[in-house]
């Protein structure tokens, strides 16, 4: 079994079976972490280009390691060192990378739909590593992986996403992925940061944190951008912390075995307290590790790899 689509632009492109395939493959990839030599030979001769127009340390590094551990040649192309400043269009840049032999282009861009634009311009396969407020499918996949690993399943779980749902590409991908895998999704945040009409997608909307996390199996805390406050979407960071900051005291309202996640980078002491991140119930650090495994799996599957072969190769 392999993936049907040429590109991964939105999590909505993946069926339940395909998501399971990615997670299963990631599990096989993760075994490499315990080995002295972290290398699969499977993507030897393949070229992966990280085309990053937005500053990103963890996602870019994660893709870079994933590519290298699969033996691909990984090239980083960042906006500051590129021809963007010279007025080259995105589709033109993508065609240049294709001409340089890119098999897979991983793109991060501030504009929603940028990955679609690149995917239309080239025959190379395209992975969306975050396009504006649209989606961040690999982040959602690593979150699904982490939840499944910790909880043993996704189906029937209750997952609460806290924060700026309106501007969050992570939230969009998570809602799509979690719903597809049979989890119940709740969101919590002020009305100015929650889009209208989420209920029609089966999402439960809360404006207070305590009832939103009561009975939840997983709490996913989103990063709050300070510029939202400047735009008047909420009055102050202080007030935001008071209403939605996840502290250890507040965590008492949740299930004892609740799993706490954050896509990073976290504003410690704002949306999440330092001690919650370091709490045994938090998977924040493992999310980062799992990110590499999930991206290895994606690079592998998108290069036409078969999950069973990978296991036997190990």
């Amino acid at each position: 079994m392999s993936l049907r689509h040429k590109d991964l632009l939105s999590l909505a492109q993946l069926s339940r079976e395909e998501i399971e395939l990615v997670l299963d493959t990631a599990e096989a990839c993760k075994q490499i972490f315990d080995r002295p030599v972290k290398k699969f030979p499977t993507l030897r001769g393949k070229v992966v280009v990280n085309l990053f127009y937005e500053a990103s340390t963890r996602t870019r590094t994660s893709f870079e390691l994933a590519g290298k551990w699969m033996s691909a040649d990984v090239v980083n192309f960042t906006a500051s060192t590129s021809s963007v400043m010279k007025g080259e269009s995105l589709s033109d840049t993508a065609k240049t990378l294709e001409a340089l032999g890119a098999d897979i282009i991983v793109i991060r861009h501030r504009s929603p739909g940028a990955a679609h634009l690149v995917a239309r311009a080239v025959r190379s396969r395209v992975i969306n590593a975050g396009d504006g407020a649209h989606e961040h499918p690999t982040q959602a996949l690593l979150d699904l992986f982490t939840i499944r690993e910790k909880k043993g399943r996704l189906d029937g779980l209750t997952v609460t996403i806290v924060g700026d749902i309106l501007h969050s590409r992570v939230a969009r991908s998570q809602i799509i992925g979690l719903s597809r895998m049979g989890a119940r999704v709740r969101v919590a945040g002020p009305p100015t940061l929650i889009p209208a009409g989420l209920e029609q997608r089966g999402v439960e909307v809360y404006h207070r944190l305590e009832p939103a996390i009561d009975g939840a199996d997983v709490i996913n805390v989103l990063r709050i951008q300070r510029e939202r406050q400047a735009k008047g979407l909420f009055p102050s960071i202080r007030e935001y912390v008071r209403l939605y900051g996840l502290t250890r005291e507040r965590l008492a309202a949740a299930k004892e075995d609740v799993l706490v996640m954050h896509p990073g980078p976290a504003n410690l002491g704002v949306e999440i307290a330092q001690d919650v991140v370091e709490d045994p119930r938090s998977a924040v650090r493992e999310q980062v590790t799992n990110g590499v495994a999930v991206r290895m799996a994606l690079l592998y599957l998108m290069s036409g790899g078969d999950a069973r072969e990978l296991q036997s190769a190990g």
């Binding site: 269009s89 929603p112 739909g113 679609h116 649209h134 590409r169 009409g197």
Partner: protein, 433 residues
């Protein structure tokens, strides 16, 4: 060309329906004769069996680029595009560089256009100096120069200025063309604020940005007695507000862009920048309400809002690309295929919205197709079909979301005064050498 032409076997619009096949002898800018079995050895014959002759169509809203944006469109290409799209008259917006905000600018454009083979140019001159929204342009001068409407082709933010404009323009008997959008509410948005746009992560333009501006202009027109024409109405609620205002006797007319009748915001899923319009594409329910408004006359006319962009401008990220789609050469076949051929709109209603009512708003006389009447007609072959291929357009623009769509109906030409343009007349010239 202005030779004598005999159009053979065409069905002619007669106000309430089409006639049987008749012949039209066009000579010296008039319909010299109309009847069955006409012959004139000195005339060139056009075989027009199965064609329709419609009263000359008028587009109240087009951006023709000149002066200042000739890379997008010029008067030569824009007026030819209008003619090849079936429009005998087209109203150009003043958002040029420099803007059309002086008497001499209006005179210059009219003079330029008089020597161009294409549709007749009508001019919407700027309402405020430099289109800055700060102080009124010399409106009486603009009227004297022959502007048919006054408007900035941009929202006028200051309500006091809009109020004065309506008061002042009322003595000139010209409509104020108002773009109904509250810039502060729509600011930064690129798509309708709703479910479709949300899942695409596109910054939203709430419907209230339009409702508030529509309500404001309606109330100001009511209070001042001024005459306002609402451009680019795109929501069902606006239609309702206009309907109520018309019942109260407010002097208001309104238009809808044809793309808003045919597409909705679900179409944005592929981030095709050719669908990035201002106002934005709205949910399907709005399109249905707009169509209802057209049918009951609340929305007076359908316009193209022809907005040419270069391919380089549109080959950009969705939020960065400019707004607008070109439409002059695709509007009539698209409206015919999707609305008339499907039975949603009658020919009578379409002709009201594309000819009769826009003519009244622009101050043109009625276009009658009758013996002795001056020529002002559009020839259309509903039976021909083809794929929309912008590379064959007269317009410089290529930006239509309907590219590649299979549509019924082909514009064959227009005859307005002595001007005969369009494919059927061009073929004649080729034959004549």
């Amino acid at each position: 060309m202005s030779c004598k032409v005999l159009v053979k076997g065409v069905a002619v619009w007669q106000g309430d329906g089409f006639s049987g096949a008749v012949d039209l002898l066009i000579d010296e800018g008039r319909i010299a004769r109309m009847g069955k079995g006409l012959s004139d050895p000195s005339a060139v014959e056009i075989r027009a069996e199965d064609w329709l002759a419609l009263p000359g169509l008028v587009d109240l809203h087009a951006h023709l680029g000149e002066p200042g944006h000739e890379e997008r469109e010029s008067l030569d290409t824009g007026l030819a595009a209008a003619a090849w799209g079936g429009f005998t008259h087209v109203v150009a917006m003043p958002d040029t560089q420099p803007p059309v905000d002086t008497e001499s600018a209006v005179q210059y454009l009219k003079e330029r256009a008089s020597r161009i083979r294409g549709a007749r140019l009508l001019i919407c001159a700027a309402l405020t100096k430099e289109r800055s929204g700060m102080e009124l342009a010399e409106l009486a001068h603009l009227a004297a120069a022959g502007a048919c409407a006054l408007g900035d082709a941009a929202p006028v933010e200051d309500p006091a200025l809009m109020r004065r404009a309506l008061q002042y323009a009322s003595m000139l008997e010209l409509p104020v063309f108002a773009q109904a959008a509250d810039a502060r509410l729509s600011g930064g948005g690129v798509a309708h604020e709703g479910s479709a746009g949300h899942w695409l992560g596109l910054p939203g333009i709430p419907a209230s940005a339009e409702w508030i501006a529509v309500a404001r202009e309606l109330l100001l027109a009511e209070e001042t007695g001024g005459r306002v024409h609402l451009q680019g109405v795109s929501t069902g609620r606006s239609v309702q507000l206009i309907r109520e205002a018309k019942r109260r006797g407010v002097r208001v007319t309104a238009e809808v862009g044809f793309y808003h009748l045919l597409l909705d915001d679900e179409a944005l899923a592929d981030y095709d920048t050719r669908k990035k319009l201002m106002p934005p594409l709205r949910p399907r329910a709005d399109g249905e309400a707009l169509l209802e408004g057209v049918l009951d006359g609340t929305v007076d006319c359908i316009v193209t809002d022809h907005t040419p962009c270069t391919p380089e401008e549109k080959d950009a990220e969705f939020d960065v690309a400019p707004f607008g789609a070109a439409g002059l050469e695709v509007a009539l076949p698209a409206l015919y295929s999707r609305l008339v051929a499907t039975g949603k709109v009658s020919w009578a209603a379409l002709i009201e919205a594309l000819s009769a009512r826009p003519r009244r708003i622009a101050g043109l006389g009625e276009a009658r197709i009758a013996e002795g009447a001056p020529c002002d007609l559009t020839l259309f072959a509903p039976g021909e079909s083809g794929s929309v291929d912008p590379s064959r357009w007269r317009s410089k623009a290529r930006n239509t979301p309907l590219a590649g769509e299979r549509l019924y109906g082909r514009v064959k030409g227009i005859a307005v005064g002595r001007r005969l343009c369009g494919p059927c007349f061009e073929e004649l010239e080729e034959v004549a050498g």
